[in-house]
């Protein structure tokens, strides 16, 4: 698919989130669900960046992950926060694409590079340059609930492109039990959120991935995670 940009690409490029609808959606639906139905126990809230640009890196178990991270930042910083989500899934139909972009406010990421005109990480770079807070799940997909997969290299690429941007690891636990992949029924569980120390690009891809993973493992080991088989 090397032809001219598709209809979806155009939609992504020309339209961002609808600020009023997005605000109301997060205020009236997402926050009550995340804070009352679910409930969040947040550790080290002081480590959360106060403003953008910043890159939040979290493990991925559930669709609720992005909503939990957005909730962390509160309503006053909502306009700055953009979750990265897979274009092949979130833009799969025109209605869902409208909802994902205008209401959820996602930054669509092409998991397979479809166009020669743009690098698939370009939308994230542009967002960071605008001073936004980007939420990224470097495991790539939700996978098995509450099981971590290795981080993909795209995160190192982004860090290299933006050496000044703070990268903050966040460990999430509980959401994979509440709404795992392939399930439509939400079962309430408390969500544990552990915010880690921020790090930055250190000049070497392998070193960077190493320190990110070490940082992340330390964070995950803080959590006392009950068995879920």
């Amino acid at each position: 698919m090397d032809e001219a940009p598709s209809k979806l690409d155009l939609q992504v490029d020309t339209q961002g989130p609808q600020p009023v609808l997005r605000y109301l959606f997060y205020l009236l639906i997402v926050r009550p669900v995340m804070l009352i139905v679910m409930g969040m126990n947040v550790r080290h809230l002081d480590r959360l960046p106060k403003s953008g640009p910043a890159l939040i890196v979290a493990n991925h178990n559930s669709h609720l992950d992005a909503l939990a991270l957005v909730t962390l930042f509160g309503m006053s910083r909502l306009h700055l926060v953009r979750p990265v989500a897979a274009a092949d899934y979130f833009l799969s139909s025109s209605w869902f694409a409208w909802f994902s972009i205008r209401i959820l406010g996602i930054l669509p990421l092409d998991r397979e590079v479809r166009s020669k005109h743009r690098h698939s990480l370009d939308p994230i770079s542009e967002s960071l340059s605008r001073g936004e807070i980007v939420l990224l799940f470097p495991e790539g997909s939700r996978g098995e609930p509450e099981k971590r997969q290795p981080f993909q290299q795209g995160i190192a690429h982004l860090a290299k492109r933006h050496p000044d941007v703070a990268i903050v690891p966040v460990f999430l636990h509980g959401l994979g039990k509440a709404l795992p992949r392939g399930e439509g029924l939400l079962v309430p569980f408390f969500c544990d959120v552990f915010i880690g120390e921020s790090l930055q690009w250190n000049g070497n891809r392998a070193d960077f991935m190493d320190s990110l993973c070490t940082n992340y493992d330390a964070l995950a080991s803080e959590a006392k995670v009950p068995e879920f088989e």
């Binding site: 126990n41 029924l185 079962v187 006392k224 879920f228």
Partner: protein
Amino acid sequence: MNDTQSNIWFGHLTLEARGALLCIFAVLLIASAISISLVRLKPAGDWTELRARIRTWWVIAVLVAGALLLSPDAAIWFFAFVSFLALKEYFSLIPTRRADRRVLFWAYLAIPVQYLWVSLQWYGMFIIFVPVYLFLLLPARMILIGQTKGFLRAIGTVQWGLMGTVFFLSHAAFLLVLEVSKSPRVSPAWPHELAAQYPGPGLLLLLLVLTQSNDVAQYLWGKSLGRRKIAPLVSPGKTWAGFLGGLATTIILAALIGPRLTMLDVPRSLVAGAIIAISGLFGDLNISALKRDLGVKDAGATLPGHGGVLDRVDSLIFTAPVFFHFVWYSYG
């Protein structure tokens, strides 16, 4: 006929119940004043935990008082919400099986149903729904899913959690709709005529005040002269001196406020104080043992300075049914 009481604001609360609410806020004001002066007088000490604890007490008192002032039904559904928070905390702490997500969902659905029986004043259903019907229904749901590995542990832990966080806590709510029977075993000693119309809020306030002050009294007595430990492997903080001091304090407090707030006469108030002090201790130790088994310090972080909701309602889970059945036997 009896419209004098129901026509005025908060008519469902007797003068004594309203007075009790004012006293609770007065005690909190004193606690806040003491903690603020501690911060001023001894700035070297770390008072953040104490300050957070008292601030959370304010929030709890405002919510309970607000629900009670609104209507008895509002207070019943407030307890349903507390049950939901406590059960959710419990399910988040314990090991669970992915296959049981639907069973847990049914367990959550049991909360509004159980509190519906309370608001309908349907005692017969209220008293058997969790221990009989859910005991049969949840394993049936689990059997239909069909995973046998870990079956006993799964069904045992789910039922245990429901008994504590839903069934036992709902006894506190049932106090609100309790009516004195026409031929009670003990003749009620009403503080005055109007109090006989609305006995519920007074009974609930008595239970809550005695349970929570017993917690505080056992802690303070234990701090000041406790040495011999009751259950050192479960909770090193619980001492015999603390328990006995708390017991005496709670019995005296019960004798002072029981007859003024409820139909309990002085002897029954003394008994109520004693059973609340004893069952409160074991309720507290019960959740301590659970946390130790699971390897966590606090059950959650919902209530700053206290920990989780389970950490706060631990003694109430034990005192509510024991106090309720004492009152039910005597007057119901």
